[in-house]
């Protein structure tokens, strides 16, 4: 029988790596969020944002950040479902708000961990 605590100890170590990568991913999201509003940069920015959100959605809850994973999945799904004909101000504004929320919750996740030396 596998000891569940053994998995938890292993995942705790991976959580630190996840948070380190999350920091870089949030930087990328911050770089792209304003470009979503610019028509000539929108497609590239959405693609970058979706790629980062997709990765966060796939791992966040496994290492204990369920809410972060949930909002990342919302961003991923919103961009996936959006066709180019839906590039209206309202939809773009909604996605920017979701990305904002993702960044906010991501920052909270990073701050929730005690600093390591």
């Amino acid at each position: 029988m596998t000891d569940p605590s053994a998995i938890l100890i292993g995942l705790e170590r991976i959580k630190l790596r996840f948070l380190s990568l999350l920091d870089d991913r949030l930087d990328e999201l911050e770089l792209q969020i304003d470009d979503i509003a610019l028509p000539h940069r929108r497609a590239h920015a959405l693609s970058r944002v979706q790629a980062e959100a997709h990765k966060i959605a796939g791992t966040a809850s496994v290492v204990g950040f369920s809410e972060l994973g949930r909002i990342a999945a919302v961003v991923d799904s919103s961009i996936e479902k959006m066709s180019t004909s839906e590039y209206d101000e309202k939809t773009i504004g909604q996605i920017q708000a979701q990305v904002d929320q993702l960044i906010e919750i991501g920052v909270l996740a990073i701050r929730s961990q005690p600093a390591t030396t």
Partner: protein, 327 residues
């Protein structure tokens, strides 16, 4: 057990290494892209027992990797588990069409992953035995029979045909919304017991392949998957099934078999008919609803088929479909 895990996210590879290691799977090779994964599969001498592929990767995605992996003979039956965030039906369809054995949606539960791996490997073992047997049948004595009628022998090299266990996994993976727009249709080779008694194993496999080829080429649905369920019965899941589309289906299947022009290995024509069952709309009605729907579809095609695919001189009921010689 040797495992290859391919994902461009290093955190996922870390998690897999940790979780699978805890479950006793210690021989794991990691690749961070589809191209790297394929190169490992092509160069490795020992062979892997289970493959875990992410779908969305830059460059070569997991679906392309699955297709290319299935073209490597050694990996025709090895379980491929897709680990992915993509839960939309279109991705699930593409993954199973490409040859995936199962589909695990990220973020996954660690114990669920272990359970899926165990099941996939158990099923793959059975499948491999049947396929090895089919391969050896070309060489051994013609009269020896090893395949029973009940075996859900998978049909190879026909688009949209997948093994029965993968078919079950596919249905389990579809969400409630997708199931509501899908239906099951069963097809059955009429008098399969009598026909099977008159054939060698190799001829029987050819008959299954030809029948599957005819049915899949006649099906008018944009999206479908089909499996052989044993006893010469085929189960198909399709979207957008309507009576308008079903009406010409028996004739189209008959024409497709006529084009294949099948016969026994010694050239004798083989008379057979394909029964077309009534479609069963899929619904979520409790835990075992999918299994019950499959049983219902199979039982209906056996008891009260909607139509019989027929062509040739005896157009009314019994067709004169001949089965092709060795392929």
């Amino acid at each position: 057990m040797r495992i290859l895990a391919v994902d461009d996210d290093p955190v996922i590879l870390d998690i897999l290494g940790e979780v699978l290691g805890t479950f006793g799977y210690s021989d794991i090779t990691f690749a961070s892209s589809g191209h790297e994964g394929l190169a490992i599969l092509q160069d490795d001498q020992l062979g892997f027992d289970t493959l875990l592929f992410d779908i969305q990767m830059p460059g070569m995605d997991g679906i392309t990797l699955t297709k290319l992996t299935r073209q490597i003979y050694r990996y025709r039956d090895v379980p491929i588990l897709m680990l992915t965030v993509m839960s939309d039906k279109i991705y699930i369809d593409r993954a199973f069409q490409a040859g995936a054995t199962d589909y695990v949606t990220k973020p996954f539960e660690t114990y669920e992953l272990r359970s899926r791996m165990s099941t996939a490997n158990r099923v793959a073992e059975g499948q491999k035995k049947l396929n090895d047997l089919a391969k050896s049948l070309r060489d051994i004595g013609q009269q020896e029979r090893h395949i029973t009628l009940e075996d859900a022998h998978s049909v190879q090299d026909i688009d949209c045909m997948i093994p029965l266990p993968a078919f079950h996994n596919y249905l389990k993976q579809l969400g409630r919304g997708s199931l509501f727009s899908s239906s099951l249709i069963a097809f059955k080779i009429e008098n399969i017991q009598r026909l099977n008694d008159s054939m060698t194993d190799f001829e029987y496999i050819c008959a299954l392949t030809d029948t599957a080829d005819a049915i899949t080429s006649a099906l008018p649905f944009g999206q479908f998957l089909m499996a052989h369920g044993g006893n010469g019965t085929f189960i198909c899941v399709a979207e957008g099934v309507s009576s308008d589309l079903l009406e010409p289906l028996p004739t189209d299947i008959a024409h497709a078999i006529e084009e294949i022009d099948p016969c026994y290995g010694d050239g004798r024509p083989l008379m057979l008919s394909v029964l077309v069952g009534e479609p069963i709309p899929l619904r979520f009605r409790g835990r075992d609803s999918i299994n019950r729907a499959i049983t219902d579809a199979v039982s209906r095609v056996e008891r009260e088929p909607l139509a019989v695919a027929s062509f040739g001189e005896k157009k009314q009921k019994m067709p004169s479909i001949r089965m092709s010689a060795a392929r």
